[in-house]
Symmetry: C2
Subunit: 411 residues, 2 copies
């Protein structure tokens, strides 16, 4: 018998990585934000009447009719198989020339990112991220007990020059180079900015020079309301350095939670092995059935109309209502506006007052691996109606006004 | 710039565990079995007309009607939330007293087992398994670069005395004790046997004495056609040593791929953290909607009728048709019969002839971590119709007859 202290239940039996990371803090104030009785500008959710309930129901009907006993079987029938083709065809539309052998279907984008982590990351590895970045991805990286270094984001996205400098310095000093660089190139979460085409090219050169993988996460790319799309990083990738993650959560619905990865065939084989089980055949078949006859494209067009209206309303409302000293990003697509409050305001401290005033947001600090972002907040125009956007921004403005140390009467 | 050899694509960037395990062989002859034009006694699949297409469609209709805009949103609505209660209620029916905080819902049983692996296993750890055992679980364990030790199975299931001896020996010799012991206590895959109640109790004592976790995988427990059910290991577990995995794949349909884990709340918290993303809200709501008004219980009763008929037919057919020298298990439930061919017959070598004769099966060697099981085969009565069972067993008998070294004319 061993003499391990067992007063911790099963904890002493957990894997080393789980024990190292189990106390990591997760979303401090999340519960109070979620449950608040206030306009939820915190939620990066699609707006409620965007969901295709009726269309999915009829897609299910068509699926059962076409597939009979195959629709719910292991592996599914032809529709389930054809999902990879649905994905490949749409990837080609965006300039990514790939085959179904270069696609791995996952249980949503989070599971896709996790599969990439599981395949590439050892404890102690280094991961480069945008600072700020998607808090869900930070949470995943933390689970792997890696060192996370964040790089600033400006109006053209990730500051690739700063990345290049850090790589050169690490290389010269014999310090660890990153295994992965994680980026959300289009309508970045939380800032809303888009990485310029030049920087995408440069990032691929750096990946090749310093031998790392670019994890391109593009959930919002198709939700563009202004301007032309720069090519996806994967479309520019001549050397197989880019691993691209995407999802139907934003173009169909989060409730079906189906994502995918585009990568070299040999890497996809490892994803298939590591990510056990795979996406349910019913869901795969259902999405294929739903996507038929251009329905997915029409849905995306319609979503863009709904989101553009909300984006415009939020920018107008900020312009009209916010007190001086507050600034914000002006995204061409996606879900998010990134706000900077006047000096002296801490977004986490302001939150209870903002909730009292009638609005929720996510404090900027949620999106950093370190203690930056205290004056920042992410507000989403995706989830609420245009009148609610006005109401939420009005509440935010009043909370900011009340908290601003020196209020000048004239602006 | 580093001087790593990069001729392997991204392989040199994979995690150590992935690099250690990436060449593991997977199901040698699987493709030829899957694609064979023969009666598929190889497939552990439900029979085709068991699938509740119409009921799931009307469950989807009810879900959309009841939930409106919530059904496809992140998190889902009340139905998605209530799935844990559906699971708890049915666990209680089987003697497992748990709360929703002790449930983690997964993307099928394979994903559940993988989540347990990710939480508990370090490379080099030891895992005890039944020999033979479910090949899908073996595949998962191999991904974690652990040492696998298999223990014989007899008519009462896993030979727990042999496990006790091995534990005492390892302990005395200062050798590593297992982190996990994986067992399928009811209608074991591939043998069809059930672990006796006494052995379940004894296993829990051993887990407590030697400080390991029992991973109880019970996909078939509700599909019992004879006799009374021994209590689940988790129902006997006073010390939180058992982690129980289950799935709706066999009681609703594989295509919805939804499973769950029952464990102590502190361990569930780690599963929630490690298993990123979680099960889609639409599927969770759909299952809750489907399970209402006793529909799930009625479906299971009906499945048992269909499977019992097939089980009976297979045992009769084996009795009538197989040449002497072949033996088989007689399961009280589940999907599988475990066959031992006459001495001199290698099941992998026999397979091409069996396929020519018109039947497929899974060679016993697929179910061992070592080179045992060469005379064995798993045949499933779950998937094909009773007449096809006769046809398949007739084909198997003729292949065995043709391959038996010394055929006696009289029996």
């Amino acid at each position: 018998m061993d003499d391990t202290d067992r007063s911790d239940g099963l904890e002493h039996l957990y894997s080393e990585t789980v024990r190292e990371t189990m106390d990591g803090s997760v979303y401090g104030a999340w519960r109070s934000i979620r449950d608040a009785d206030a306009v939820p500008l915190s939620f990066g959710f699609p707006y409620p009447d965007s969901f295709p309930n009726g269309e999915l129901l009829s897609a299910a009907e068509s699926l059962f009719e076409a597939e009979g006993d195959c629709a719910l079987q292991y592996g599914g029938g032809e529709h389930a198989d054809a999902l990879s083709t649905v994905i490949v065809d749409r990837a080609r539309d965006r300039g990514i020339d790939c085959t179904t052998a270069e696609i791995h279907v996952t249980n949503g984008a989070t599971n896709a990112i996790d599969t990439v982590c599981q395949t590439f990351l050892d404890p102690g590895d280094t991961v480069f991220v945008e600072a700020p970045t998607f808090m869900g991805a930070l949470r995943l990286f933390r689970n792997y007990d890696v060192d996370i270094e964040g790089f600033d984001v400006d109006g053209d996205g990730l500051d690739v020059d700063a990345v290049a400098d850090a790589l050169a310095e690490r290389d010269a000093a014999g310090e660890p180079l990153p295994t992965l660089l994680y980026t959300i190139p289009n309508f970045h979460n939380p800032t809303g900015v888009t990485l310029s085409a030049e920087r995408r090219e440069r990032l691929l050169e750096l990946a090749e020079t310093y031998d790392f993988v670019i994890l391109e996460d593009d959930p919002y790319g198709q939700l563009r309301y202004d301007g032309a799309e720069p090519p996806p990083i994967k479309a520019l990738d001549g050397s197989g350095r880019a691993v691209r993650v995407n999802t139907f959560s934003k173009t169909i619905a989060p409730g079906i939670r189906t994502g995918w990865i585009v990568a070299e065939e040999s890497t996809i084989e490892q994803f298939d092995r590591v990510n056990a089980g795979g996406e349910p055949s019913f869901t795969r078949g259902l999405i294929t059935s739903y996507a038929a006859d251009g329905r997915l494209e029409r849905a995306v067009d319609k979503l863009c109309v709904g989101y553009e209206e909300r984006r415009d309303r939020m920018l107008e409302s900020l312009e009209t209502r916010m007190p001086p000293g507050t600034t914000w990003s002006e995204p061409d697509g996606g879900f998010f506006v990134w706000v900077e409050f006047p000096e002296g305001i801490d977004a986490e401290e302001l939150l209870p007052d903002a909730i009292d005033a009638g609005v929720t947001y996510l404090p900027g600090s949620f999106f950093y691996a370190d203690d930056r972002g205290t004056r920042r907040a992410r507000i989403s125009f995706s989830h609420v109606s245009p009148p609610e956007i006005d109401e939420g921004i009005e509440a935010l403005a009043s909370a900011v006004r009340a908290a601003t140390p020196t209020v000048e009467a004239d602006d």
